[in-house]
């Protein structure tokens, strides 16, 4: 009776499909391997022909050059400050608001929540010109705070944290209430520790978004010492391949993606949850 050792997986996928996917995976990785290869080659050798990638010798010179170039390191620090600042800000604002929306009663709670949800549908393009003017009024361009602030308004975090607070059993806060704990105490001491996995998910997601942000830093950070790494890499692309050499450009790409790749390797599950959860809901 063949039918009884069925497996649902066998009916939807099979070996051939897997191998086609594996070949696609190799094609997917080819550009990355190419860049890593270039980054390990001497620029002068590459000028004579990029086929040199496939043969020895390899060198770490391009990476050493990055670490010596003060501007790349400065951009890296800017990116760190902005990404960490945004992550902390989003976690704080979203947790406070998410707790209140999920657990407390106050006037206009439902209306306010619906208005916040509408915020999810507003794309950056619709507000960016006006925001740019506003930041001009307050002289916030080319400052870290000016780079951090705009994305704190994102409704996604509030939405996600509200969902997470709702998922915590009500008995837990009720038990705390019997101890006469204040609302803030219940939030801070009892419930917040329970949302740690959610904080991790939202935090990693926010960090990646901030690290990779392009539009806003492009128009707000116009002085090169205020560039984030994303903008800095973009600016060195404009005189592409002429002055710096392909090996150096490749090394820049690898260096700039290291932090997100490391975050990805360690927190893959959280990232996938945040990204797909956010898209479906």
């Amino acid at each position: 009776m063949k039918a009884f050792n069925y497996s649902p997986e066998h009916l939807t996928s099979n070996r051939q499909l897997f191998w086609i996917a594996a070949v696609l995976g190799v094609i997917m990785m080819a550009p990355v391997a190419w860049i890593i290869g270039l980054s390990l080659k001497d620029n002068a050798e590459l000028l004579r022909g990029t086929e040199a990638v496939f043969s020895f010798p390899y060198t770490l010179l391009n990476y050493a050059n990055i670490l010596e170039s003060s501007s790349v390191f400065g951009w890296f620090m800017n990116s760190m400050i902005v990404a960490v600042g945004q992550t902390v800000g989003v976690l704080l604002l979203s947790s406070l608001a998410g707790y209140a929306f999920a657990r407390l009663e106050f006037p206009f709670r439902k209306t306010l929540f619906i208005i916040v949800l509408f915020g999810l549908a507003v794309p950056e393009q619709a507000v960016i010109i006006a925001r740019h003017q506003m930041f001009n009024w307050f002289d916030l361009h080319n400052t870290h705070i000016g780079l951090i602030l705009p994305n704190l308004s994102s409704a996604f975090g509030v939405f996600l944290m509200t969902q997470f607070f709702r998922a915590i059993p009500k008995e837990i806060d009720e038990a705390a209430m019997l101890d006469n704990a204040s609302t803030f105490r219940i939030f801070w001491k009892v419930l917040l520790p329970l949302t740690l996995p959610a904080q991790a998910t939202l935090g990693i997601f926010t960090f990646l978004q901030a690290w990779n942000d392009y539009w806003w830093p492009l128009i707000s950070a116009t002085k090169s010492d205020m560039y984030t790494l994303t903008i800095g890499i973009a600016s060195s692309q404009t005189n592409f391949a002429q002055s710096e050499g392909l090996g150096f450009l490749g090394a820049q790409a690898v260096f700039a993606s290291l932090p997100v790749v490391i975050v990805y390797i360690f927190f893959q599950r959280h990232i996938v949850t945040a990204v797909s959860g956010g898209a479906v809901k």
């Binding site: 939807t12 550009p31 608001a97 006037p107 209430m177 790409a253 479906v280």
Partner: protein, 293 residues
């Protein structure tokens, strides 16, 4: 005691004040202000003059905007089906618990976490004439090399290749999540009937994830309509504007030519398009919940 916790009190609202103030100043206000700007002739050094819908008329009659809309529509029309079909294929192929599948899932999603500048840097180096990986491959097969980024017709295509490479992870993951939701007994029944794989796919799998396919398509439409960085960095919209998308038009008008009223009008038009798609997404996802329930 529990009663007082649940009672409505305005002090409870203090928890939402920090977020709401940021929300109002940095999202709601600029949204309104942007609409106001789109109705004004804006002087760079301050001062607006109300001119009604003239900016909108100017945008809509600008041939460059028309070209940008056309480019964006072509781009969305080609990249979205590619992402949906490829994402669905990968999800079907990798919907297993084996180590190999899990590795490949991680690999296909990995590109999504890179920033647009890294993605374009990688692909520009791949597409360089003569020395790029593409040229080497073309040479290897004895084909005539193409200036991918500098040829009309190829430039937008090349931007599309980089975009699909960058964005394929999300559709795949959403489809995988949907495949996990299909009740196992449907497959049991099919196994008892000795149904062929193709029949299982077309009669069970695809109908079961119909709403997810819709959802993924709409999410991608919303995302790809906002194409900007890839085009700006890879081709700078060229040659002859043949790869300039709507957002890049807004960027050029608003931040390079400083024609703020015009840029604001163009961005409101884009917002309207995206809003329609987002409404559709909301409608589909609420309907999905009804079906699931």
């Amino acid at each position: 005691m529990a009663e007082s916790y649940r009672r409505s009190r305005w002090t409870n609202g203090l928890f939402v004040v920090p977020y709401l103030s940021v929300f109002l100043t940095l999202l709601v206000f600029p949204l309104g202000w942007g609409i106001w700007l789109s109705l004004n002739k804006v002087d760079l050094f301050g001062g607006e003059r109300f001119i009604g819908l003239k900016n909108y008329a100017r945008v809509l009659s600008d041939p460059i905007f028309g070209q940008a809309v056309k480019n964006t529509l072509i781009f969305v029309g080609v990249s979205v089906p590619t992402l949906v079909i490829l994402g669905l294929f990968l999800a079907l192929a990798l919907n297993k618990t084996s180590k190999g599948s899990s590795f490949l899932r991680g690999l296909f999603f990995a590109s999504s976490i890179l920033s647009v500048t890294i993605v374009t840097l990688i692909w520009r180096i791949v597409f360089i004439p003569n020395d790029g990986l593409m040229s080497l491959i073309f040479e290897f097969f004895g084909w005539q090399p193409i200036g991918f980024l500098s040829t009309t017709g190829w430039s937008l295509f090349s931007v599309g290749v980089a975009t699909v490479w960058w964005c394929i992870g999300l559709p795949m993951m959403l489809f995988l999540a949907a495949l996990q939701q299909i009740p196992k007994d449907l497959y049991e029944a099919a196994a008892l009937d000795n149904a062929s794989r193709w029949r299982v796919l077309t009669r069970i799998t695809l109908p079961s994830i119909k709403s997810t396919i819709m959802l993924v398509a709409i999410i991608q439409v919303v995302m790809q309509f906002q194409l900007f960085g890839q085009a700006q960095l890879m081709t700078n919209g060229g040659p002859a504007g043949s790869s300039r998308p709507i957002v890049m038009y807004i960027y050029e008008v608003g931040f390079l030519r400083w024609d703020i009223g015009l840029g604001a009008a163009a961005s409101q038009i884009l917002f309207l398009i995206i809003l329609c798609a987002a409404m559709l997404q909301y409608w589909v996802s609420t309907r999905k919940e009804e079906v699931d329930a």
